[in-house]
């Protein structure tokens, strides 16, 4: 498959009054054409920062690339000038944000907000752009689009606004669409509609999606592949089945165990103990070891490298080292692994 975006050894820090916050500490991943890659992790794990750094939307005076590159169309996005970046934003890569209530300009009719990227990136006139905008609104399922072009954001509901934001993002048929928790701020029923819409549109315009979320239910629903982030690093990456049914990293185990499900008997929901690491002063070895009951001596000293589980699946944990002891994952995870062909608990059958 064609790699459309490659993130290599990306390191990024924020310079704050308190010191240097190492928000991203060596992130690697590829994005393939037409796929949906979900990035999951808790708040502060660096998932939003990673995508914002691809778009170069971080405050220039405090965020600083320390290392690595972001390759897109043969160019390193970290090295582009502002002008060059403006030509990519909204045209080749576009973005949907978390809160539709605040991501539209309150004093500009939505029609103008949709035509803005069209007029900017495509050589078309105002009338033409208006027609395209109306088509876009229809595409995202907005009834009576002609009438709504002149209305202001406050005249739309949250779900409708997110549809408008999606219309803006799709205006120039981008190659990559970054969705930063696009359903978090919405009601559950609306969430499902928006997710359906995004899946639908992806098929129609063949774009790759990076989908950021902390909701594993959403991930299972939309993603082809999943990257799990913790403490500014990707700790495990694989196809959605591999992550859900053959997870290797204790943090992924923790995430999956803390996911509520109807068929678990346990009355008490599992919670990962402790708090995310302080990225002002990141721990030396495995950042998750301090919260993990599977910690090894070496976790305290050395950062685990990536160990390959399959061609598509790798995880950064010392537990995969040949010398490491066998450990028992949590019961709920074993239950899952029983269904995955190739896992050591496989009992036959299919997922």
């Amino acid at each position: 498959m064609e790699k459309i975006l490659q993130v290599k050894d990306l390191e990024l820090s924020f310079n704050t009054f308190g010191g240097e916050v190492k928000a991203i500490r060596g992130v690697n991943f590829d994005l393939y054409k037409g796929e949906t890659l979900a990035i999951v992790g808790e708040s502060g794990s660096g998932k939003s920062v990673t995508t914002k750094s691809i778009m170069r939307l971080l405050p220039e005076n405090s965020a600083e690339f320390k290392n690595g590159e972001i390759l897109f169309g043969g160019r390193d996005l970290t090295k582009l000038s502002d002008k060059e970046m403006q030509k990519i934003r909204g045209k080749d890569i576009s973005m949907i944000f978390q809160d539709p209530m605040t991501s539209l300009n309150p004093t500009m009719p939505i029609g103008r907000q949709i035509t803005e990227p069209l007029l900017k990136h495509q050589k078309i006139g105002k009338e033409e752009a208006k027609k395209v905008a109306i088509d876009l609104l229809r595409l995202v399922g907005m009834p009576k689009p002609e009438l709504r072009m002149k209305q202001y954001p406050h005249q739309f509901s949250g779900g409708q606004r997110q549809r408008i934001v999606i219309a803006i993002a799709l205006a120039c048929n981008p190659q990559i669409l970054i969705a930063d928790e696009p359903t978090t701020a919405l009601d559950v029923t609306i969430q499902a509609q928006i997710l359906e819409l995004m899946k639908d549109l992806q098929k129609k315009i063949d774009t790759s999606i990076i989908f950021i979320t902390h909701d594993l239910g959403v991930v299972a629903n939309v993603a082809d592949r999943v990257a799990v982030m913790y403490g500014g690093k990707i700790v495990e990456i694989g196809t959605v089945d591999e992550i859900f049914y053959n997870p290797q990293h204790p943090y992924t185990w923790g995430l999956l165990s803390s996911m509520p499900s109807l068929d678990t008997d346990e009355a008490k929901l599992y919670a990962i103990p402790g708090t995310p690491p302080d990225l002002l002063d990141p721990p030396k070895g495995d950042a998750f070891a301090l919260r993990s009951e599977y910690a090894l001596q070496i976790d305290m000293e050395q950062n685990p490298p990536f160990f390959k589980v399959s061609d598509t699946h790798s995880a950064a944990t010392w537990l995969l080292h040949p010398d490491a002891p066998q450990v028992e994952p949590p019961a709920t995870v074993i239950e899952r692994m029983k269904k995955f062909p190739g896992s050591r608990y496989y009992e036959g059958g299919a997922i």
Binding site: M55, R89, S103, P106, T107, M108, Y152, Q155, I168
Partner: protein
């Protein structure tokens, strides 16, 4: 919206009636006679003078006469300062210079203030920002009469660029007083716009605009400025108050034949009808300005426009 304006208008009338009543009775309990030379007059002469101004009538009659007069726009007649002159005419005749320096000061101050605030926000935490903040703090802190005195001493007396305390040279005479009055609106606008701009620039929709590929200037001019300017309307009220307050002293310092100067003089000579008339005139002016500001805000901000005018 119509209901909102209606409600506001009713409040305005009540407030005005209260102010007029309040002013009227305060003037009546003031120590001393309203007639300056009362002590020197014989009782007969005094009665004649009092009858001329209607001061011999019982208090309720005087009160209702005054209130009915107000309805017709009649603010009474001057007793001491301009014997027998109509207060309404006196105020109207003095409006020109006051309006001129007030308007010039307001416009000058607001425009420069907006520019300063915007530049400061766009160049946040640079020397441009710091010097604009300094100007704003000084503008808010230094009272207009101190500033006016300074201007007069330096540009009037020392450098002789502008006429001193003479309202004869038309526009040239109005320059220094206008600058003195402009300081507060300037500082207020600069501070206000800076905070608003910084907040707007940090908002999600600006990030979205950036994500669309908009350039720095497109973001500033197409998206940020309008959103930052709208709330400025809310401080137009306090700015007008400051111009009015300032005009009392600034007109005094630059000897401008305006309403403020006349008001201060009438306080000195206890000309009750002018004090009352001017008080009521100022009140009406400010209340109307604040009403207009509130309505304007509802009209301009689409978020408020449809939700009935209440924020």
């Amino acid at each position: 919206m119509a209901r909102y304006i209606g409600k506001r208008l009713i409040y305005m009338v009540i407030t005005m009636a209260l102010i007029a009543t309040f002013t009227f009775f305060l003037m009546k309990i003031l120590p001393g006679s309203p007639i300056a030379s009362a002590d020197k007059l014989s009782p007969e002469q005094r009665a004649v003078v009092e009858a001329r101004y209607g001061l011999d009538e019982p208090l309720p009659v005087q009160y209702f006469d005054y209130m009915f007069g107000l309805l017709k726009g009649d603010l009474g007649i001057s007793i001491n300062q301009f014997k027998g002159a109509d207060v309404t005419d006196l105020i109207i005749s003095r409006m020109g210079p006051s309006a001129q320096i007030g308007f010039q000061g307001m416009v000058l101050g607001t425009i420069i203030g907006i520019l300063l605030g915007m530049i400061a926000a766009l160049r946040q935490n640079t020397w441009v920002d710091y010097s604009s903040t300094l100007v704003a703090i000084i503008g808010i802190s230094i009272p207009s009469f101190v500033f006016a005195s300074l201007l007069q001493y330096w540009f009037g007396l020392k450098l002789e660029w502008f006429p001193v305390a003479l309202w004869k040279d038309g526009f040239m005479s109005s320059v220094l007083p206008s600058i003195a009055l402009a300081m507060f609106p300037l500082a207020t606008a600069a501070r206000f716009i800076r905070t608003e701009m910084i907040e707007v620039l940090g908002s999600d929709y600006i990030t979205l605009a950036k994500a669309k590929g908009a350039s720095g200037s497109e973001i500033a001019f197409k998206h940020a400025i309008r959103n930052a300017l709208i709330p400025l309307i809310t401080v137009l009220g306090p700015m007008t108050v400051s111009i009015l307050t300032g005009s009392l002293v600034v007109e005094q310092i630059f000897a401008i034949p305006g309403i403020g100067e006349q008001f201060v003089k009438s306080i000195m000579v206890n000309d009750f009808s002018i004090i009352m008339g001017t008080t009521i005139f100022f009140s009406v002016f400010l209340i109307v300005v604040i009403l207009i500001v509130d309505i304007l805000y509802g009209v301009i901000d689409p978020r408020i426009r449809l939700s009935g005018g209440k924020s």
